[in-house]
Amino acid sequence: MKQTFYDRIGEAVYRETLENGLQIYVVSKPGYTKKYAFFATRYGGMDTRFCLDGTWEDTPAGIAHYLEHKMFDTREGNALQELAKNGAEPNAFTANAMTGYYFDSTEHFEENLRILLSFVSIPYFTDESVAKEQGIIGQEIRMIEDNPDWQIYTRMLQAMYQNHAARTSIAGTVESISHITAQTLYDCHRAFYTPSNMVLTVVGDVDPQHVVDLANRVLPKLSGPVIERDYGEEPEEVAQKEISLAMEVSAPQFLIGFKCKPVAPGPDYLRMDIIGDLACDILLGDSSPLYQRLYEKGLINTSFGGAFEMMPGVAYLYAGGDSKDAHTVSAEICKEARRLVEEGVDEEFFQRVKKAAYGSELRGLNSFETIAVAMTEGYFNGFDPLKFPQEFETVTAEDVRAFLAENITEEHAVLSLIVPKEA
């Protein structure tokens, strides 16, 4: 087992790759009573079209999320209850490019880990149990459809991408999930829940060798092939400049999104992530001149915020909140980006923002979930997330300027709006 110390941030990680191809990370956290396990597959809402046994399969939108719900069923009953009996707090989520199952517990950690590895690797569905879930997930979809935050975000991605599967709603629709059967779930499980497509991260005060031994005992000895996916050819142009929806909300909301150039997996992925985050902070973060100007004019309020996101084949910077005049705010953001590109980023301001961003990365390490998700994303995208201090050292104001020049322009922008419904 390989052990790495990260002196600058006070972390230690054990790494092991099992013979079946599973990657394991154990992040030591002496002094903590809580232990956390995160078992993830590189399979999410956008993996609907893939090649299995030589044939291209088109599966219904929402299937990865549906599978996540049904994985908790076991021949003996339900793993959620088994874990909860031990006082563990289990849960799972489906993102665009991954599905993760996790729990934290203070007692019976190894028994809980055994349950986790077992239920995620052994599927058990019946037509009846799959049909029954339609009601539950149907209500989850209704719930998010009533949620303006979800609507505005999903619709922004649909405006931004013409073909890429990132525009597919992770949960699907009540209609799309009605086509899901036990057989399609078994097929997707076989394709994507194979050890070489997965990673296990444990965070806490645990014996790493026990984790490896347990995984070797519980998981399949062999792995399936690597599955080819098709996310769709995506041109540089956005699909639609503006998209709007009326809902029962208290005030108009907006999100402006900029379609950015995606980055291939590798160490550059982490670097681009840092540059994109810094660009976002410099352009429109709390301490930026633009933020203060818009806030003081009453064009934005504390609900305003932004972020930079990346996933395979996709990268975008977005920002939004409540505003009575979204078009002015959007125009101001584009104008500020142009100014920064023309005049360059002030070196002192850049150093200050970098300092703050570094502190914020470090603070993230308090959260076991943040660490586990970062390790998983790092594995799937070919970088080591705990090397961020080294990357921070070499990123310059010029990198940020170049990023803004390439990506944050009017032709890459889309605007998603939610307006209050007239009573």
Partner: protein
């Protein structure tokens, strides 16, 4: 983790929690004051206006620059309801000195800034800067209105308002839109002066610095805090259950209905009610989750919360409109099952384990610790998380039945859709 609580001045207390395992330190300063209709909105607005600038850092730009240079320290204003008290103030988070690249000391400057925000706001002609006042007032009104946007939160709030009508517990933490609209700069400044001189101040630190250093930093930071006759915090009176349950309905243009049910608890055996509630709807192992969701597929969420200070249990669920009666009946049936002791051993073990895990893992999160100890201080309790866990462990099935048998339906709230437009 051993908490240490000391008095620094008249009505000023420090809760000190040593924590070397964290990457960060947390520092919180909260005024605790009885929740009242007349002052709730003003108190909420005060913390937002204070966050706009101090004499030393007079605008957002200067404040942000200062925080950035402290490695992205955050200082957020907070407005919380604890029992029938309102807690307003700031929570600061900053990287622990050990991880500052040049070994800079951060506790002292962050404490200093916190003290400045509270004691030394930027003013003009003896009141808050008018632009700050106006823009934060607009923001607060927007924030109060925005509860409408999350229908689950909205339904939960509406249930509580109907359930506790005429009681302080029904007052929203941010106050009402109407009361905030009426606020005037002069009055707000007077209320600010009153708040900082008469309300109890709860300080909390969690991090690697030793108590002596923390005490020194905070004494210096709050040396100019005025102190006059410090008022008592409010002690919440238990809710008196209605003889006959009331039914409240609302219509909105939504695709999912929200069913909320409020119950009064006649027992004061809080540990038994805590267990009973966990069995009923407090975990993914609970009767509501297993039956209303998993068995009958009526909803995505159905869960319950026990409000210890008020002796209440509230249930929250999202359902199809036409499943109202089915869900209503099933929720009551599951409550009856708990009341009759109709459960298996594993359910009890699971509920105990869930609560035990929640209490013990609290020591691993600075945010949870701060929220917990503030709640304890604001409701006059002194137990540590492990003492509460100990109490729960001793609850017997008989006690659960006895306590849960006093739980009676009081208020039902239903948010339904509008008839489809022709």
């Amino acid at each position: 983790m051993e908490a240490n609580r000391i008095q620094l001045a008249d009505g000023v207390y420090l809760t000190y929690l040593p924590g070397r395992k964290f990457k960060t330190s947390l520092l919180s300063a909260q005024f605790v004051t009885p929740l009242q209709q007349e002052t709730a909105g003003a108190n909420a607005l005060i913390s937002a206006v204070l966050r706009r600038g101090t004499v030393g850092c007079p605008d957002m730009g200067a404040l942000s620059a200062k925080l950035d240079s402290l490695y992205g320290a955050s200082i957020d204003y907070t407005v919380r309801k604890k029992g029938e008290n309102q807690c307003v103030g700031f929570v600061a988070g900053f990287i622990d000195d050990r991880f500052a690249p040049q070994n800079e000391k951060l506790l002292e400057p962050v404490s200093g800034l916190l003290g400045e925000l509270i004691c030394d706001p930027i003013t003009r002609h003896g009141r808050f800067v008018p632009e700050y006042f106006e823009s934060e007032k607009t923001n607060l009104v927007d924030a109060i209105r925005s509860i409408l946007n999350d229908k689950r939160d909205y339904a939960d709030a509406r249930l509580l308002q109907s359930l506790c009508k005429e009681e302080a517990y029904a007052i929203p933490r941010l106050g009402s839109e109407k009361d905030v609209e009426k606020l005037q700069p002069q009055k707000l400044y007077a209320q600010y002066k009153k708040l900082i001189s008469t309300a109890r101040l709860e300080l909390l630190y969690c991090g690697s610095a030793d108590l002596e250093r923390v005490e020194q930093a905070l004494r210096a930071a709050f040396s100019t805090l005025p102190r006059e006759r410090v008022e008592e915090i409010a002690v919440a009176l238990p809710h008196i259950g209605r003889e006959k349950a009331q039914y409240v309905e609302e219509q909105m243009d939504v695709t999912q209905g929200k069913l909320g049910m409020g119950f009064s608890c006649g027992s004061d055996d809080t540990a038994a009610l805590l267990m009973g509630n966990t069995l009923f709807g407090g975990s993914s192992n609970s009767k509501l989750f297993l039956n209303v969701r998993e068995k009958l597929s009526l909803c995505y969420y159905a869960s319950s919360v026990y409000h210890r200070q008020k002796g209440l249990i509230t249930v929250s669920s999202g359902i199809e409109f036409e499943n109202y009666q089915k869900s209503y009946d099933e929720i009551l049936a599951q409550l009856a099952a708990v009341q009759q002791g109709d459960w298996e051993d594993w359910e009890i073990e699971g509920a105990k384990a869930t609560l035990l895990n929640a209490y013990t893992s609290m020591n691993d999160s600075q945010g949870k610790l701060e929220n917990f100890y503030l709640g304890q201080a604001a409701t006059g309790h002194t137990e540590t998380p492990s003492e509460l866990a100990e109490e729960v462990m001793q609850v017997t099935p008989e006690r659960i039945c006895q306590a849960m048998q006093t739980v009676k339906l009081d208020t039902v709230y239903f948010l339904k859709g509008k008839e489809a437009a022709e």
